[in-house]
């Protein structure tokens, strides 16, 4: 797998989609992300990001989720 297209949710642009390839958060945070449907191999689309290190909004399946900036920086996405 080439890594040149892998970025975090922070770097992903609003409106862009991709596939989750890595969750680099701690065990607890990873578990919470997974139970919200954000898991490796899932399609994910960034809806928006707030100013000044605010949360990122994403869509996974039929769910929209708001993710804090720090946690979003640990979700790695391969851009489609």
């Amino acid at each position: 797998m080439s890594h040149k297209n892998v970025v975090s949710l922070i770097k992903l642009k609003s409106g862009q989609s991709g596939v989750v390839v890595g969750l680099e958060a701690g065990r607890g945070a990873t578990h919470r992300l997974e139970s919200m449907g954000i898991r490796i191999g899932k399609n994910i689309k960034k809806i928006s990001g707030m100013f000044f290190h605010g949360p990122v909004m994403v869509q996974v399946g039929h769910t929209q989720v708001g993710i804090g900036y720090g946690m979003a920086s640990k979700v790695l996405v391969e851009v489609a």
Partner: protein, 577 residues
């Protein structure tokens, strides 16, 4: 008695299912974490009465916040006791989010208790281009699966017959990875998705969440909500309650006053002082005059209008979006965006607001949020009285009170965030789709909250006025007033008489504000008194819930913060104004 536990992810409609099964009303909304305590009700299963428990929502059986802990605790207790025949978990699943919801389903099936899966919001799957093969899903899981629409009642007769048949599935413990693998398999077999075009609703959803458009829209909504609450509240007072009292109640009380004229003690207690030979509902201070007028004519209209607007906001699904928009600001005061929900609830009544802080992850956040609510957030009853007393001087004085409270809320939050070790956890929040709230559900929720006010608050107010009158007639307030004079007169610039109001504020803040009127305070003194009363000692109901939620030690800390803040802000206002 048989037990039926309703369990599922947050915001899948467990509480709506609960209302349908038991006929008991509980508050439902369109955001995760409306239920933070468990509620019990009863239903008939054939001839037999069964207990139904509405368990707080949880994504998994490994809790991440206090509300989820409550959920897991309830399940543990249910499975620890010998599972009696008929005990059953009804796992409520959001049919439009099958994959994510099934994780908890699989966990529940490993718990050695019968499980029934309810595919709720079934009607929504059709407009979203989702089709689910219910029979195949039931086969695969090995437990009954029933599609329902809780807000209309569709599918409930079938659900009730299935509760009889539920059996314990024989499933071994799986690992986390195995569960997700299983879910992937089953979802690909039973669910089909059709491509769907962007609808108008999707566009609105995007506009309200993008920062450039979302923040102005949020400010617009806040302004509209405030205007609407004022409009409905003032309208109800001017056109309904005031005429009712003037035309029907006052003549009755004047007759009663004549009757009591030879019993001055009882006249003082029940009717109070006549002002220029007439009853003045704001100044007479009798149990049957001021004691009834304040809750029914001054406060109730605002309770109605506030909860009408709040109910609409709650059920539409806007609040979680507001949480995302305000996440930045809230982090500065040691919280994250979702803390805006308990805060907004606090504007109705501090008690449900502080209870709702259970959706926050850490003890630190709950302490900060609860302390900020009890100091900086005036409840609807208190606000109604602030408008009642200050409103006649125009918008300025009211604006000063609100600005002071807001600035205190932000500055204090900032200080607490710096002073308390630890950090504020990150926001991770499911954003539900917008839904147009069904009117019957809005109406029921509003009625339930009004009833709560009438049954809980009004008796306390009547008792409060009664106690004040008896103590005043007996002259017992003198010593307390003298003792606290240095603070009240020295720092706040208020007359000694205001001590009575501050003390009675412990019972009800609204009555306390009402008691300021006969003191003939200047505008400046009224503003200081309103701010001091809003911030100072929480009313007894809030005090009890703080003690219960924070524990004695943290509650005392919170009280210490409160007293410090009220002394500083009260004296500053007295100096500046």
């Amino acid at each position: 008695m048989k037990k039926v536990l309703l369990m599922g992810n947050p915001n899948v409609g467990k509480s709506a299912v609960f209302c349908r099964l038991t006929g008991v009303h509980v508050v439902t909304s369109n955001y995760a974490g409306t239920t933070v305590e468990f509620t019990k009700g009863y239903m008939l299963l054939g001839q037999e009465k069964a207990e139904v428990v509405d368990v707080p929502g949880t994504y998994s059986l490994e809790p991440t916040c206090k509300a989820e802990e409550v959920a897991c605790e309830i399940l543990k207790n249910a499975t620890k006791e010998l599972v009696r025949e008929g005990d059953v978990v009804v796992n409520v699943v959001d049919a439009t989010n099958l994959e994510r919801n099934l994780y908890l389903t699989l966990e529940l099936m490993e718990q050695n208790i019968p499980v029934i899966v309810v595919l709720n919001m079934w009607d929504d799957t059709k407009h979203r281009g989702i089709s689910i093969d219910v029979e195949k899903l039931a086969d695969w899981l090995g437990v009954p699966v029933v599609p329902t629409v809780a807000v209309t009642g569709e599918g409930f007769s079938k659900l009730i017959t299935q509760i009889y048949k539920a059996r314990t599935p024989m499933v071994r413990k799986h690992t986390l990875e195995e569960r997700w693998e299983d879910i992937g398999k089953v979802v690909s077999q039973v669910q089909r998705l059709e491509h769907r075009h962007h609808t108008l609703l999707d566009i609105i959803q995007d506009l309200t969440i993008k920062p450039l458009t979302g923040l102005p829209i949020a400010a617009g909504f806040a302004y509209l909500a405030f205007k609407l609450i004022r409009f409905i509240g003032e309208g109800l007072i001017t056109y309904v309650m005031q005429p009712l009292f003037d035309n029907f109640y006052t003549p009755l009380m004047m007759k009663f006053s004549l009757l009591l004229s030879s019993w001055p003690f009882w006249h003082d207690v029940l009717i109070g002082k006549l002002i220029g030979g007439e009853i003045d509902y704001f100044q007479s201070l009798g149990v049957l005059t001021t004691g009834l007028f304040v809750p029914l004519a001054a406060v109730l209209p605002y309770i109605v209008s506030f909860y009408f607007v709040l109910g609409f906001l709650e059920d539409s699904g806007y609040l979680p979006r507001l949480a995302v928009l305000l996440d930045n600001l809230m982090h500065k005061i040691g919280l994250h965006g979702f803390a805006i929900v308990p805060t907004l609830l606090g504007f109705g009544c501090n008690v449900p607001g502080i209870l709702a802080t259970r959706i926050l992850e850490s003890k630190r956040e709950r302490f900060i949020a609860s302390t900020l609510i009890s100091i900086g957030i005036p409840c609807a009853a208190l606000q109604a009285m602030i408008f009642g007393v200050l409103g006649k001087y125009g918008g300025g004085p009211v604006a000063i009170v609100y600005t002071t409270l807001l600035v205190t809320w932000i500055v204090l939050g900032f200080i607490l965030n710096k002073a308390i070790p630890g950090f504020s956890p990150e926001l991770l929040l499911e954003i539900p789709p917008y839904r147009l709230p069904p009117l019957n559900i809005l109406g029921k929720k509003l009625w339930w909250r009004i009833k709560g006010f009438l049954l809980d608050a009004v008796p306390i107010m009547l008792v409060g006025v009664l106690i004040v009158n008896i103590i005043t007639v007996l002259g017992l307030f003198e010593s307390v007033a003298n003792l606290s004079a240095p603070v009240v007169t020295g720092l706040f610039g208020l007359p000694k008489g205001a001590v009575t109001a501050i003390v009675i504020g412990f019972l009800r803040k609204d009555i306390a504000i009402g008691m300021l009127v006969p003191l003939q305070l200047s505008i400046k003194q009224l503003i200081v008194a309103c701010v001091v009363l809003s911030m100072f000692f929480p009313c007894i109901a809030t005090f009890t819930v703080l003690l219960k939620e924070l524990g004695l030690k943290a509650m005392l800390k919170s009280m210490f913060v409160m007293i410090t803040v009220v002394l500083v802000v009260g004296s500053l206002l007295n100096l500046i104004l």
